[in-house]
Every structure is written in structure tokens, then in C-alpha cells.
């Protein structure tokens, strides 16, 4: 009996070794992202679930700092030949990624090569439009999308006799003036990301171009059109309101958002992704509402454009690795998973089915603030002007535009001068980008 036992053990060992072989061949897929806190947990949970669902691939998520830092880390890694497979890039980095032909693998190509079922029409067009060519080819995979909404302190509005948030810009300016005279002397309304609201969203919301060539989607030889009559008029209104603080400037980025939750500014424009922040910190009744529009512009409002980030697949990897990435994207597109991701993070559902499911579940009855950005984005089918922006160097260009807006708000430049200057300097930057990337 003894030898037989030995043989059995040996066979069992051999069996184990054979069983272990596929485990050794697991393909690791690096995923660099910029998510912190609860969103970081969501990323890790998605990777764990995917890894548990099959045994061929293992997604390894790594936090690489904020959006800008993650992009820079990815660029540096690519230059050193150690790029990750999947990289999360914020929406304004889209042109940088897109023009890096050879550095990226377009998602539509990836899915086709891997033979994964993939229907671009299953995704919300307002989201995928930003990441697609004008031919509708999806270049990156939408992951966390948000849009700009108007956060309102409904208690404050009630105090001036308003039961609903203002719908148009003239109404908003009037309400803000009343608020400064009734308990909010420092700030009637304010905004985070000053150029996102007052140039990018304003233009899309009124179906006006930010730049030629479909906002840069049709080519790098695009020029800015941010100094049109409506943009100039709007900036003039802002500068006028700044004088009595019915509008009060809160800086270029989003560090001023605390003025809303602290109760200093009763109306604040910001990302719909601030939902958790507002929910946790605001000690007053609040709501989110769509951005206002100018009623004298025919057809307004159009649709808003997105913020947030998408997943880019880096070039130069092995076919088997691409297969894994494609499988992972299919996994992410699953309706239940998307709906859950949307409901737990507050980011938008990326597929139509996930949105319908959340609606059917009654999710928005309890969380109306999370439906506002979706309603804004899907208000009308996107046009050339409202699909998104594909402008090189957009992160730095936003700083440049903000410099000019600050000049107007400080009373040093007329709105027309400032926007003409912003366009001229921005065009110089676009030509520089064209020289760098277009060769």
C-alpha cells in the first residue's frame, strides 16, 4: 500500500502543479488612476470583482496622484517605456492623449481586435461624444463623468420669496442682487472653475462654438471663437455684478466651493461630483438645478458638456494584454455594475441601460440632485458645438482665459478686450501645440 500512497501523493502534487500553471500565466494589467476616498474604494472593488470573475487576467489599480499628476506620471512612464495598460485621464487632457498617435490604442479598435461585443450606441452619446471622433469612433472608455450644475441654498431662496431656482441668467442676476441685500452681503452667487462655466459650458449650453473645426474635433488647425457677442455680454454682466458682490469671484479652480457649504454663497456653480461634499457639509436645505440660459438665444438651452475622466489604453502592449483590457471594459459596461457605480459614487451612468435602471429603481426620487447633470447632458442631441472640446493644452489654456477674466472682473479691461486677448493668446498656444503634436 505504501508505494501506492506515495504515487498518489506524487500524482496529486503533479495535479496541483498543473493546476497552478495557468495561475502563473495570469496576465497583469496595470491601471493608473486619480481617485481618492470613496471613489478609490470603488476602483479597488471593481478590480477585485473582475479578478474574481475570471482567472486569466489580473487588474492592478494604482493611485498616482491627482488628475494632472496621473497624466504626467503616465507621460513620464511612456517615455521610459513602462507605461501602464490603462490610464485615467481627465477630460481636458483628451487632446493631449488623442494627438499622441502610437502612444495610445483607440478603444473602438481594441474592442474590434479582441472580438468583444461592443455597441457604441449603448452609451450615453453626450458622454461618449466627448471621447469620440466625428465619425463616432470611441477613442477612450468613459469612466467617471460629471457635469456642471447650479447648487442652491433653498432656505436662502425662500427668504427672498423664491420657491424655485432661477431658470435664466437675467432671473439669476436679479435674485443674486436681492440675496446680497438680504443677508448675503459678501456673495450673491459664485462659481468654481470660472472658465468651465463662463466660457466652455456657456457656449455649449447656447449651441455656440468655442473654436472652429467642431471645437477642434476635426483638426489641430482650429482657432478660438470665445469672443462672440454672447460671451462678451455675459462677461459684462458678471463684471457688473462683481461690483456689488451679487457675483463674487472665488478663484480659478474649485477651492472656493466651501463658500457654498459654509453658507456664505447661497448659489454656487460646481461639478455634480460635489454631491457627497454638499450632502456631508451643508447645514441648510439645498438642491441642484440646471445652469441658467439667456432666453433671447433661439434654441437655448442646448446640452451641457461633461467633466470627469475616461480610461485610455496605452499603445505598444501585447495582443493578449489587450484582450484582457477589452474583457475588463465589457465587464465595466454591465448594466447592474454601472447602475451601482453611479449610485454609490454620484458620477454619471455611462450606459443608457444603467440610467433607465436607476430611474426604474426610483433612485432619482430619493436623490433628485443626481439626475440634474444627466438631464442637462441629454437635454438635446449634441451638436458640433456641444459635443465637447478637443483643444490642445486645455489645462494651461484655462489658466490663460482665467487671467483675462480676472482682468475684467477687477475693472482693468473691458469684456471685449479681455476675450479678444484671451482668444489671441489661446490661438498662439494652439499653434504651438500644432507644431509640437502635428509633426
Amino acid at each position: 500500500m505504501a508505494p501506492t500512497t506515495t504515487i498518489r501523493i506524487a500524482l496529486a502534487g503533479l495535479g496541483l502543479a498543473l493546476a497552478a500553471t495557468p495561475a502563473l500565466a495570469v496576465t497583469e494589467l496595470q491601471w493608473w488612476h486619480a481617485m481618492t476616498g470613496a471613489n478609490n474604494d470603488a476602483v479597488n472593488r471593481l478590480a477585485d470583482e473582475f479578478n474574481a470573475s475570471q482567472s486569466d487576467y489580473k487588474v492592478v489599480p494604482t493611485y498616482k496622484g491627482n488628475y494632472g499628476e496621473t497624466l504626467n506620471a503616465g507621460i513620464a512612464a511612456f517615455r521610459a517605456g513602462t507605461a501602464p495598460h490603462i490610464m485615467q485621464v481627465f477630460e481636458v487632457g483628451t487632446a493631449t492623449m488623442m494627438s499622441a498617435k502610437g502612444a495610445i490604442k483607440p478603444v473602438y479598435q481594441l474592442m474590434k481586435d479582441a472580438g468583444e461585443p461592443f455597441d457604441p450606441n449603448a452609451y450615453l452619446p453626450a458622454i461618449t461624444g466627448y471621447y469620440s471622433t466625428t465619425k463616432g469612433e470611441m477613442l477612450s472608455f468613459p469612466f467617471n463623468s460629471s457635469s456642471m450644475v447650479m447648487w442652491v441654498n433653498t432656505d436662502a431662496l425662500k427668504s427672498i420669496g423664491l420657491s424655485e431656482p432661477p431658470k435664466t441668467w437675467p432671473d439669476l442676476f436679479a435674485a443674486a442682487k436681492k440675496l446680497t441685500q438680504n443677508g448675503f452681503p459678501n456673495c450673491g452667487f459664485s462659481t468654481t472653475w470660472v472658465t468651465w462655466l463662463n466660457i466652455e459650458q456657456l457656449s455649449a449650453w447656447h449651441n455656440l462654438p468655442v473654436a472652429t473645426k467642431a471645437n477642434g474635433m476635426d483638426g489641430l488647425d482650429t482657432t478660438l471663437e470665445i469672443n462672440g457677442p454672447l460671451q462678451v455680454k455675459h462677461l459684462a454682466n458678471l463684471a457688473e455684478a462683481q461690483k456689488d458682490k451679487s457675483f463674487d469671484y472665488s478663484g480659478r479652480y474649485d477651492s472656493g466651493f466651501g463658500r457654498f457649504t459654509a453658507g456664505e454663497c447661497p448659489i454656487m456653480f460646481g461639478s455634480s461630483g460635489s454631491y457627497g461634499n454638499v450632502k456631508g457639509a451643508a447645514k441648510f436645505a439645498w438642491a441642484s438645478a440646471p445652469m441658467p440660459y439667456y432666453p433671447d438665444v433661439p434654441g437655448a438651452p442646448q446640452n451641457s458638456i461633461i467633466g470627469g475622466a475616461s480610461l485610455w489604453v496605452m499603445g505598444g502592449k501585447k495582443p493578449d494584454e489587450y484582450k484582457g483590457v477589452a474583457k475588463f471594459f465589457t465587464f465595466l459596461s454591465d448594466t447592474d455594475r454601472q447602475a451601482k457605480l453611479h449610485q454609490t459614487t454620484g458620477y454619471m451612468p455611462i450606459t443608457k441601460a444603467a440610467y433607465e435602471k436607476s430611474k426604474a429603481d426610483g433612485f432619482y426620487d430619493k436623490n433628485p440632485a443626481l439626475e440634474t447633470p444627466i438631464k442637462e447632458l441629454t437635454n438635446k442631441p449634441p451638436t458640433e458645438n456641444s459635443r465637447g472640446l478637443r483643444l490642445g493644452n486645455l489645462p494651461q489654456m484655462r489658466d490663460l482665459w482665467a487671467e483675462e477674466i480676472e482682468g475684467t472682473l477687477a475693472g482693468k479691461k473691458t469684456p471685449k478686450q479681455a476675450l479678444d486677448e484671451a482668444a489671441a493668446r489661446g490661438n498662439a498656444m494652439l499653434r504651438q501645440f500644432e507644431k509640437q503634436a502635428g509633426r
Binding site: G68, N72, I75, F78, R79, T96, S99, A100, K101, G102, A103, N186, C187, Q242, Y249, S250, G251, R252, Y253, G256, G258, R259, E264, N393, P395, Q396, D399, A402, E403, E404, E406, G407, L409, A410, K412, R425, M429, Q432, K435, Q436, A437, R439
Partner: protein, 294 residues
């Protein structure tokens, strides 16, 4: 007093002794500097997929940009204000700490602490105090009728970054001034006092001239600091704004290189900045040092 010369036998030993130093300096100072010069002649996309040698195009773009000259002027104002404020304030503190007072040890230690704070953290601290709507001091200023708003008023923003940048450097200057003061023989000052010179006169005719080597050294260090190491403070507090009111040369290098991914243009700017700092230091040694009594 003729200095006695110490010589090592042969050439190998001195070379071996100095080699590590040279290696480190070469690796961490000269190699990157040479790289920057090389890169400033190139134009590259962010991913380095295509590189083209463009000779002086980056420099030409720089010197035809009105914004660049504006940044240069801003930098000169900023550096003069930071160096002046931090040196003056440190000297005042050092002169006071140099007296025989109870607990001066603790007092001195406390004054040295802020040097351990990173510039970006100093920026955050000043932000907490001076950001309108957020800061304690900003609210106080507004309440007493001073419309303090560094978000829109360029002068306010400049005052803010100068204060934050100078605050951080005061400790360092204080340390050197204190050491310099304590090296001045007490008998000299006592003799002057017996001759009837008051404290102010004693300070300006005896103490300050004897401190001149320290002051000169600190001036060079502070100017280099203001030129090259202050982008953290500016980034946290103003991002170079409002408008371009606080955009200094070094912050522009950071903006164009890091945010704008224009490596060639950014490298050209660093080379120019390097030349300016070397030039300034040379001028200081050539002309100012003549007035220094060692």
C-alpha cells in the same frame, strides 16, 4: 601671518579625495543643466514621440513674448521685496534676541522653527489666514473697512506671496545674523558707549559694518531663493494670478513645462533664468563685495 601650505604627496590621493564631490556635483548639477540647454534647442510633443532640433526657435518665441518681459519685471519686484523684507525683519529680530534677556534660548529656538516648513506648506498657512471668505485675517481686514481681495487685486496678491515667501526665509537669515552679532567683540561696543555713542549710532557705525560679510552672503542667498525656489508658495496662493500679477519667471517655467507640457520652451526659460541668476550673483560679487569689510 603666512598660511602654512598643506600638501599631499602624489596626485592620486587628492584626486581620490575630491572625486566623490565632483561626481555628485557633476551628476546632480551639471548633467541636468547640460540637458536643459540641449532640450531648449528642441521641440517635442508631450510623449516624446517626435523630436525636432529647432535651433533658437524656443528662444525667439520667448523674447518676442511680451508676457515674458512682464514676468521678468514681476520677478525683480518680487525678489527685491522678499529679500528686503526678510533681511530687514531678520536683522531686527536678531538685534533684539542678541540682548541679555531671560529665556533667550527658547526665544531663539522658536524663531528658527519656521525654516523647517516647506514653501508650499507656508503657502497653505498664509492661505488659511489671508484668503477672502476663508481666512481669519482677511475677514478682519474686511470688517475694519479694508477691501482685501487678493483673488482680484494684483497688488494684494503680490503682498500676500511676498509675505509668505519672506516669512519662510526670516528664520534662516535670523540664524546667520545672530551668529554674526555674537561674533562682534563686546569691548568694541563698550568703548563706543563710553565715548558717548547712543544705541542707534553704535549700531550703524560699528555693528552694521561688522555684519556686512553676513549681510552680503545672505543677500545672495535670498535673491537666489526668491528667483528659484518660490514657485510652491505662488502655486498654492495665487497660481500666478490674478491676471499675471504674481507670475514670476520660475513660476512660468513650471506652468509651461509641467502644465503645458512644452518642454523645449520651458527648458529655454530655465536656461535664461539660470543665466540671469548667474549674472546677478556675479554682479553682487563684483560690485557689492567691494563694500564689504571682512
Amino acid at each position: 601671518m603666512s598660511p602654512e601650505r598643506i600638501t599631499f604627496g602624489g596626485r592620486l590621493l587628492p584626486a581620490a579625495l575630491i572625486a566623490p564631490q565632483l561626481l555628485i556635483v557633476g551628476l546632480f548639477f551639471y548633467w541636468p543643466a547640460v540637458q536643459a540647454v540641449w532640450q531648449s534647442f528642441q521641440m517635442q510633443d508631450a510623449f516624446g514621440l517626435s523630436t525636432e532640433f529647432v535651433w533658437f526657435e524656443n528662444y525667439r518665441a520667448l523674447f518676442t513674448d511680451a508676457g515674458y518681459y512682464q514676468a521678468l519685471v514681476t520677478t525683480l519686484v518680487f525678489a527685491a521685496a522678499v529679500a528686503g523684507l526678510s533681511l530687514g525683519f531678520a536683522l531686527l529680530l536678531a538685534a533684539m534676541a542678541d540682548r541679555e534677556i531671560r529665556g533667550s534660548g527658547i526665544y531663539r529656538t522658536l524663531l528658527i522653527w519656521p525654516y523647517a516648513v516647506a514653501p508650499a506648506v507656508a503657502g497653505v498657512l498664509f492661505g488659511f489666514l489671508f484668503q477672502p471668505g476663508l481666512g481669519l485675517i482677511a475677514r478682519g481686514l474686511n470688517q475694519i473697512g479694508i477691501p482685501w481681495n487678493p483673488l482680484l487685486d494684483g497688488n494684494h496678491a503680490m503682498i500676500l506671496v511676498v509675505m509668505a515667501a519672506a516669512w519662510k526665509q526670516v528664520s534662516y537669515n535670523f540664524l546667520f545674523f545672530l551668529a554674526g552679532l555674537q561674533a562682534i567683540p563686546g569691548s568694541v561696543i563698550e568703548a563706543a558707549a563710553i565715548d558717548g555713542a547712543g544705541p542707534a549710532r553704535r549700531f550703524w557705525t560699528i555693528v552694521f559694518p561688522l555684519l556686512s560679510p553676513t549681510t552680503f552672503f545672505l543677500m545672495v542667498v535670498n535673491v537666489v531663493y526668491a528667483f528659484c525656489e518660490t514657485f510652491g508658495v505662488i502655486d498654492v496662493l495665487t497660481h500666478g494670478g490674478p491676471g499675471r500679477a504674481t507670475q514670476t519667471l520660475v513660476y512660468k517655467v513650471y506652468q509651461d513645462g509641467r502644465i503645458g507640457a512644452d518642454l523645449g520652451g520651458s527648458a529655454a526659460q530655465s536656461v535664461v533664468l539660470m543665466a540671469i541668476v548667474i549674472g546677478l550673483t556675479a554682479i553682487q560679487f563684483r560690485y557689492v563685495e567691494k563694500r564689504v569689510a571682512y
